[in-house]
Symmetry: C2
Subunit: 248 residues, 2 copies
C-alpha cells in the first residue's frame, strides 16, 4: 500500500484545528491541485470563494449553525460557475441560452465536487485535516447574497481546513457488498437484516468515541435524518432557478 492510499483509508473529518494558519505556499499547492482536476468536457465550470473576512464567516456560520465553522483557519466555498463561460460566449457573439440548462448546472456541480475532493486528498497528504460543510446549504439564497454570487453560479458546499487539534476515531462504513453491484442494481430482501452487523458496529462506535453523546444505530440515524425536513433545503430547485438556471 502506498502513502496516498494509506492517507485515504485513514480519512477522518477534522472539526477542531490549531490556531496557526496554513502557509501561503501550501495554499498555493492546494489550489493548484484543485485546478489540475478533471472537468466535464474541459469547461472548468466551478470556482472557489475563500472566506477570510470575519463578518462574512459569521454570516455563513449562522446559516450553517455549526459554531466551529468560524474557527476553521481556512474556509473555502465551492461553487458551480457557468457565469464565466456564459460571459465568454456572449463576448464571442453567442446568442442562444443553453448555458441556463440544468445539464450545464450538473456539469459545474460535478466539477466543483471533483476539484474539492482532489484538494481534500492533497491537504490530508500534507498532514492537514478538513471538514465538508453541507450545512451552509441550509439557506441557499442567503449564501448567494453574502458571497455576492451572480447568476449562473451556485453554492455546492464549504470546506474548512487547517492543522488538526484532534485525532478522531475512524468511522465504520457500511460494507461494500451493499454498495457495489455487478451489471445491474441488486435489491436485498431485507435491508435491516443485511446491515445488522454494521448497525451494531455503529452503535458501539458512538458509545465509545471520545466526545460521543449519541448511541444510535445507523438505521436509527437514517430515520432521524429523514425526519429532519428543512423547507429551504427541500426547495433547492427554486433557489437554483433564482440564480438563472432553467428548471422548466
Amino acid at each position: 500500500m502506498n502513502e496516498t492510499i494509506k492517507t485515504q483509508l485513514n480519512h477522518k473529518t477534522v472539526r477542531k484545528f490549531e490556531e496557526r494558519s496554513v502557509e501561503k505556499e501550501t495554499l498555493k499547492t492546494l489550489v493548484d491541485v484543485f485546478n489540475h482536476s478533471a472537468s466535464s468536457t474541459g469547461m472548468q465550470q466551478c470556482s472557489i470563494i475563500r472566506v477570510t473576512n470575519k463578518d462574512i464567516k459569521r454570516e455563513i456560520m449562522k446559516v450553517s449553525t455549526q459554531k466551529y465553522l468560524e474557527d476553521c483557519p481556512e474556509l473555502f466555498i465551492f461553487i458551480v460557475d457557468v457565469y464565466r463561460n456564459y460571459k465568454i460566449a456572449v463576448e464571442k457573439g453567442f446568442e442562444g441560452d443553453s448555458y441556463r440548462d440544468m445539464d450545464r448546472f450538473f456539469q459545474g456541480f460535478t466539477d466543483a465536487v471533483i476539484g474539492a475532493q482532489n484538494m481534500m486528498v492533497a491537504l490530508e497528504s500534507l498532514g492537514l485535516g478538513g471538514v465538508y460543510f453541507g450545512s451552509i446549504l441550509n439557506d441557499y439564497d442567503r449564501i448567494c447574497e453574502v458571497l455576492k454570487l451572480p447568476e449562473l453560479t451556485f453554492p455546492v458546499f464549504g470546506v474548512g481546513f487547517g492543522y488538526p487539534a484532534q485525532t478522531p476515531q475512524l468511522k465504520p462504513k457500511m460494507p461494500m457488498d451493499l454498495k457495489l453491484f455487478e451489471n445491474e442494481y441488486k435489491i436485498f430482501p431485507s435491508y435491516l437484516e443485511a446491515i445488522k452487523k454494521y448497525d451494531d458496529e455503529m452503535t458501539e462506535y458512538y458509545d465509545t468515541r471520545d466526545e460521543g453523546r449519541r448511541s444510535d444505530s445507523f438505521s436509527d440515524q437514517v430515520v432521524s435524518k429523514f425526519k429532519q425536513v428543512s423547507q429551504k433545503r427541500r426547495d433547492v430547485l427554486a433557489s437554483i432557478e433564482k440564480q438563472g438556471f432553467n428548471i422548466k
Copy 2:
C-alpha cells in the same frame, strides 16, 4: 512536494488501455478507498455498478457514443442511491416521504462524486489511468433501464480505468485568478481579455498534441459546447422525477 500531490498535478485523462485486466486485489483496494470517502451527514447515499457484461457495456457505449468506452478494462457507473436508506427507514416504520426530496438527491450526488474522485486519485497513484464518462448521461432513462436502477437511484457518470497504453500531454488549465476569489465573487470587465493568454495556450496545445485534430481556442470551444444542445440531457429533471424524486 510529496508523491500524492505529484500524482495529482500530473493528472491526465487516459482513453487507451493495455489489454491486461486490473488485479482483483487492486480492485478491492480501490473500492475500499471509495468506501472510506466523506459522505453527507454519514448517510452514504451512493453506489457503484461494475459493468463486466459485454452486451451491457455495448448498450452503455451506444448511449455514450464514445467507442473506446467498450475497451476500458474496468467500467464503474457511479449512482445516487437513496433507495437503500429509504428501504431501511420503511422497515423501521418511517412514514414520511422526505427521502424523495431533491435535497437528498444532491446529498447522494455529492457523495458519489466525492467517492469517485477519491478512487481516481488512488488508481492514478498505483500507475493506473482513468477517464470520466459524462457521455453516459446522453440518455438517462436508457441507463436506468439497462442497469435496472430502482426508484431513488440515478446515474452520475461512468469511470473507465486500467493500465494506460498512452501518455497524453498535460492539458493547460485556466489560471486560478479567474477561479479563486476572496470573500465575494469577482466580476471581470472583459473575460476574453482576461483569458487571452490561456486562449492562445489552448490553441497551441491542440495544434501540437499527438492526435490533435482541432485547433480551437478555449473561447471557441465554449461557444461550440453551448451550441450543442441535447434535449434529453436538457430534460435531466424529468428523468430525475421518473426515478421517484420530488422535483415539485
